[in-house]
Amino acid sequence: MTTSTAPEAALPLDRTRVPLLDVRGLVVEFDVGRHCPPVRAVDGVDLSVAAGETVGLVGESGSGKTTLGRAVLGLVPVADGAISFDGEDITHAGNRRRRQLSADLQVVFQDPYSSLNPTRTIGQTLSETLRVHTRTSAAETSERVRSMLEKVGLDADAEQRYPAQFSGGQRQRIAIARALMAHPRLVICDEPVSALDLSVQAQVLNLLRALQDELGLGYLFVAHDLAVVRHLSQRIVVLYRGRVMEDGDAAVVFERPLHPYTQALLYAAPLPDPEQQRRRRAMRLRRGSASTVVPAEACPFVARCPHAVDACRTHRPPLETTPEGSRVACIRWRDLRAAGAVAQPA
């Protein structure tokens, strides 16, 4: 394990040009009934993840963030657009190609209870991944399982036990171990800590970061907890109703959110400090309801936006690049930026 990580850790340097994961104009649709048009869960999203980078994907439920992750993994069909991994188009990769890809592309799910089969031992669950790619002897497999368990901070004896004997935090470590068995280069983390207790959440976040540093992993980190995303991500993509509202450097997006939706999202999260929170609460602006139907040609956020003008209702804002290098899908971003309508929260 340790010998093979050195070259992998060096990869990011060589691959700064070609992103590890590149998603262009991705559309995912779900059928909702015979007589209804399909619902667009993901609607023309561009996104990329470089090797060794963490990209945070945030949004409310229904924003399409989980669906986007599942589309990259090949778990839901893609209606339009392209997904390429390491320069190769994998949008419609077949079963065989997917099987090979699974060595590079892995996942950690939110629910540590549902993501491990209760009828199989930890050793069986972890060694499965190896079966696909290599023929290894039982002894070697066991050795790799045990060393991986130790790497994620569990006792090697866990190999013989069943998931029911572990706590939520420990199960999430096991799920991470499973994802890393085949030495992937990109891990889709779908809310990996939101089901965990606060004290355990910090442990798992530290583990994810340590593993990234050691193995040069790229993370596509899907989460609704902005503090968690901010702690881990270099870049942030904000989704609303399947569309990118704003993306850019994590520090920039968090310190100076330009899109009214990003602002709404950021200021809605209560701060763990009574005075700061009181100030933040005072500056919250809100109107409209998330369930209001918005015409296709309008900005998707128009019904909830406190800064909406008539133009917002008649055409859909394109993603524009700001001087800070972020991209914002709001026609009023210049006004908002200049007016400082967005005082920074303390």
């Binding site: 592309l105 799910f109 606060l198 910090a202 929170q277």
Partner: protein, 657 residues
Amino acid sequence: MSAVPLDPEVPAQRPFDEVEPRGFLRHLVGQPVAVACLLYLMVVVLVAIVAPIALPDVAHTRSGDLAAIRQGPSGDHLLGTDSLGRDVLERLLVGTRVTMVGVAQAVLVVVVLGVPLGLIAGFFRGYTDRVVSWLADIAFAMPAIVMILVVLAMFPQSMPAAMVTLGVIAAPGLMRVTRSATLPVREELYIAAAQVSGLSRPYIIGRHVLPRVAGPVVVQVALVAASALLVQTGLSFLGLVVADPAPSWGGMVADGFQAITEEPWLIWPPGLAIAFTALALGLLGDVVRDAGAARWTPSVRRAPRRRRPGAVAAGAAQLAPADPEATGALLSIEGLTVAFDTPGGPRRVVEDVRFSIGVGETVGVVGESGSGKTVTAMAIIGLLPGAGQVEGGRIMFDGRDLAERSERELREVRGKQIGLISQEPMISLNPAYRVGWQLTEVVRRHCGLSRRDAQARALELLREVQLSDPEAVFRRYPHELSGGMAQRVAIARALAGEPKLLIADEPTTALDVTVQAEILELLRRLQEERDMAIMFVTHDWGVVADMCDRAVVMYAGHVVEQGAVTALFHGALHPYTKALLESNPHAAIGRERLPVIPGAVPKPGRWPAGCHFHPRCSLATDACRAQRIPLEEPVPGRWTRCIHHERLAQPKEGAVA
């Protein structure tokens, strides 16, 4: 065992789940009925194998002792003789094979057809599922008896033909059972994880899905076997599948039936053999189903009992008469101890909890899972799950001890005096009725209004919780509401009885931050308008900072700290509170590693001696391990269960590893 610390995060509302799940077979063997059925069936199978070998001539004997036909039991013939003077016992034993082989043939066909088709239909769904289900529907429409008789007309005396036909016709039943058991398993994340791992679908179906659906499949197979037995004996009774001299249970019943007036005894041996075998299969099916369910359901079930008799005096005696501060409070909990019955004896999940809530005050009860915060809330309203009971302490509400009240009195308190909203608003709403109807019923019960007035009041309540279109929501079914709307409806319902105290058990945990902000805003406003106290159970420090006047921090069944929120955030008096606040990623932006608390919350029953937090605490000394740490009040209005709290006040020294 000791190397990996086990399981702290069992959700507090289900503490008895930590009862080690008993293995399927072990559970089965623990049941006398199951053992009896299994032994009986093993004997039958053994006889089916051995008897024809030990008694090779019986199957070919056309007649026996013609001088002694149709006799009852005697020394020579233990079970008597049949119409042709043959020994009934011998024929019964030898006939077992043909009967069992018939059952086995039918069961084999059912399993071979039903299980794979069910797995495939449930796993792949969509088009495959539709085709398989369609074929099954056709098979269901076929008259089984007629089909078997037609097949027997083509293949006279062919038992395999008859039993295979039966199997084909019965297979769709098993297919359906397998399919519906597969559908939920298909949605489990470990299936998706296995797909991402590149495992082949046959492998996933065989290794991941099949073991999970085995329980219901086994039950269904036992039932199929029982009915195959009845069909097989029925056909041999009619003489359709077993040629004459060979014995079979059904044929023997037929023989006894012809002689029923002369020797009624003759139908009993084969009749009882058939009945017992069918019964054994059916009972075994039931027990197997229970054994399967036993892995998921708590093993201790009994009527809720509020207080352990005898413990009342002991619990109450330690308490001084209610102190002056507490008497002014709306709710005052003193020394509350709650235990759950487990096979290993009562297990405490909450111990010596004390705090109070004043009129119109918002108190946050903060803790991780396993801290006992939800159990405390449930104890207040007398809704502890089945095996839980209050062991000691008092729950004074409005001058009376709730722990002493009867279930009937409590029903008056719930809703009218104390409202409850929970994390899952959908659970409190019945999916079969419209929101308006349910709300109207609640209003009528609490306020005794006429239907018309109650309806008006229900609508008003929906307006009060700021639903954008209350009339539309009134007419909707719960599944037509979003999470935020459902929580507003749940709040409206909790407010129907004008409660003085609202217990909010993680009401925003399942909601988006934007919706959470709105719900918190709503609760804040409602509280001001009604001067209602709120007990806010949560694990989110942000929510505590936003909502609460005071906070009660719980850890492993203890209240470890209590005090005004501002003071608590600025200088915790317990190392756990301090460490938990520091491990929040909010506070650690830009830092490489988050400060963490090593280890995990201990499960109830595995609490360490002394301070429950000492194994994870950097300040721990021998004194923390040796003695029970009392809850002290070093600063007026602030309580801590830590003997080293002065050291926390000093900068840097209190850092937890």
